[in-house]
Symmetry: none
Subunit: 216 residues, 4 copies
DNA sequence: TATGAATGAGTGTTCATTCAT
DNA sequence: CATGAATGAACACTCATTCAT
């Protein structure tokens, strides 16, 4: 269809292709997605994909890079727009959850796909992926969360907290998909509630504090 | 290689093949993994894989099913061996984290791979995967956690807590892999520490309680 | 099933296998039919097929040979049981049609399959097949048909008549299968009727006799 | 071989592939014929076969359809070119025999192969094949044969006559192949001769008319 | 004798990638 | 610039055939 293409500038075409690729990679996974499929979804012929992006592998990394940038920028923008600082952690989480829920395709490519594909992507993709994960979560968890106190316990602990946030956000958007009557906001409310209830129970002694290094 | 024909009974060979498949699927992902690769890793010829397991797809679901059973049993056994009840949640989490960290291949196949492959696995695999996730986490989180009080807040909240635990365990074992000087136990200690610190800060007002439904 | 077989004498087993093979070859064609399928249909294990018949190819030729013998014998027996000589041609055709219609599996293997499979069967199978074709039809058409006059016109013409009979019988049993309310006998009646009508029309001039060597 | 990339338009290549397929299917049978073999015979690489024809099965049906069209057209054209009407039946048969003898590959695919392959081709192929058989033979036998008298005896009888003609033509071209000194024309002469002789003998009482429904 | 276990070799099919226009 | 045409290489799957028990 649409034969004799419209002579758009290269940069635009490239974005169209990446847009399509993110959608297709997200739905089918890296290996199942065929370049034909992506080209068709982008409305260009297959050689264009190769002229612009070079190879399927480089196309995939291009997706990773662009979505990494977008993700960082999205959360950063949200945080910039000034919440009162004490609510930093909560609002940061809210933005993060919101982003993941609102950009499922991008997130799937960025996080799930980029982790589960074997060797060819070890370095290039790994570092790009880690960049978002680290940057976003250090923004949300460490930086924003406790502006007054700096690091919570140590660098590693901050990273752990970050990973927990990421894994939770990832797993919870699956839950969101399976419960269509919930929204990203209602989910965040539930999570916060759980935290409060947990703390209360903890205070009343319903949950015993573990002595670290106890079991096993 | 492996010389010629070892003539083992079917049941044994089947397990060998599934063992190999879990390893290979875990490393390469479902689509990248070739049946040849799996057969070689199992020390059998390709036709054996088909004679015993039927197809690549059915081999994959066989992996899911077996690892699902094993995972449930592993955590269940750990919980049965009687910790003092107040420590239920902590020890449950410890066992769960320990399992995930100690069985990375199985977990990758069970959780990451089974989620990210497209259509062919919707039903069969999905339900098997959900079964572990639900069973394990309801064991760890809901059942064991609060034996005196039953459900925490509601069914959905229990599920959310379960998903958080799963997503966190998943993400944290990535972190473990990247920090080889840590162990599953030291990781659990760190997490518990963070929880305690969090609660303390919360109590001292360092973290403001959000009014649920606030932001955005 | 039926594990631990019954220790039957070799000759019997061989016939069982050939019986099954004829059925399966007839239904699926030589190449589609798998030795597994045949072994199962015969109620023996696959190695038995090889021990007794050697190879798939030799099994096929064994089918051809046996069915060739049976076909010749069937028609010969029918003809021996003394019809009045003038009816020889008609009753010969009747027997032949009857045989083909009543032994579809055998006929399919003997005639259709044996002609349409490529190279490996050129000689062995071809000669066996030709043997039946020639023997049966010379019996029916030439020998029996005109005992008083010997050959009709010449050897080649007799062969032509034979081929016509064979081709017609083959094609007509297809027609029989598609018209289940007809029987082999009713079909023969129809054919004879047609012949009579043809001759009558010919006599009345409705059909012009061609001058041989005319057209083109 | 055939050097590299000849860059022909799709329609041309499609016909080349079908041409080659008819030859190969005719020689080897549907199952023995490999797509590789066909591709090589067509002078293209295997993927072209799949890009243009989709699958081996669809390639086979494409052969059937094209040869069906050609066969119908060939006989129709021959009949159109005006023989004196009384000779209709004979010239019709002559054309039909001539076509079959001159297009053995096509005929083998159309008639022999299409009948003897098992299930996958039941509908699509069956109807296409039946279309030629019916159309050609009703043209030759019924329509052309007796323009003055319409149907011979009844619909079923016309069909029977048609089947006889087809089966005879099929069987006789085998005979032609085995007797290379004969031609399609000389064969037709022989057949006509036989018919005449038959009628004469019949008239002189050498052949007794059967009472339909007699024997058995 | 009889068979479950095992495989080498091949087939249909797909896909990333490139050339010729 | 843009694309239809073309292919090398690989992959899932099957089958006739044999060996070890």
């Amino acid at each position: 269809m649409a034969s004799k293409q419209q002579r758009l500038p290269r940069a635009v075409r490239e974005q169209q292709v990446i847009d399509a690729a993110v959608r297709v990679f997200s739905r089918s996974g890296y290996h199942s997605a065929s370049v034909d499929e992506i080209a068709e979804a982008a409305g260009v012929s297959k050689p264009m994909v190769y002229i612009y992006l070079g190879s399927k592998e480089r196309l995939f990394t291009a997706c990773i890079h662009r979505e990494a940038d977008r993700a960082v920028e999205a959360v950063r923008a949200a945080l910039r727009s000034g919440e009162p600082p004490e609510l930093g952690l909560w609002s940061g989480l809210r933005e993060f959850f919101g982003y993941v829920a609102a950009n499922r395709d991008a997130w799937r490519v960025l996080y799930q796909q980029a982790r589960t594909q074997g060797e060819p992507f070890s370095q290039e993709v790994h570092t790009a992926r880690v960049r978002v994960v680290d940057e976003i979560t250090s923004m949300v968890v460490a930086g924003t969360a406790l502006p007054e106190g700096g690091r919570i316990v140590g660098e590693r602990d901050a990273e752990i907290l970050a990973r927990i946030a990421i894994g939770a956000a990832d797993a919870l958007t699956d839950w969101l998909l399976e419960n269509p009557d919930e929204t990203a906001d209602s989910l965040v409310d539930r999570v916060l509630n759980l935290a409060l209830v947990g703390v209360e129970r903890y205070q009343t002694g319903d949950i015993a504090a573990p002595a670290p290094g106890t079991a096993r």
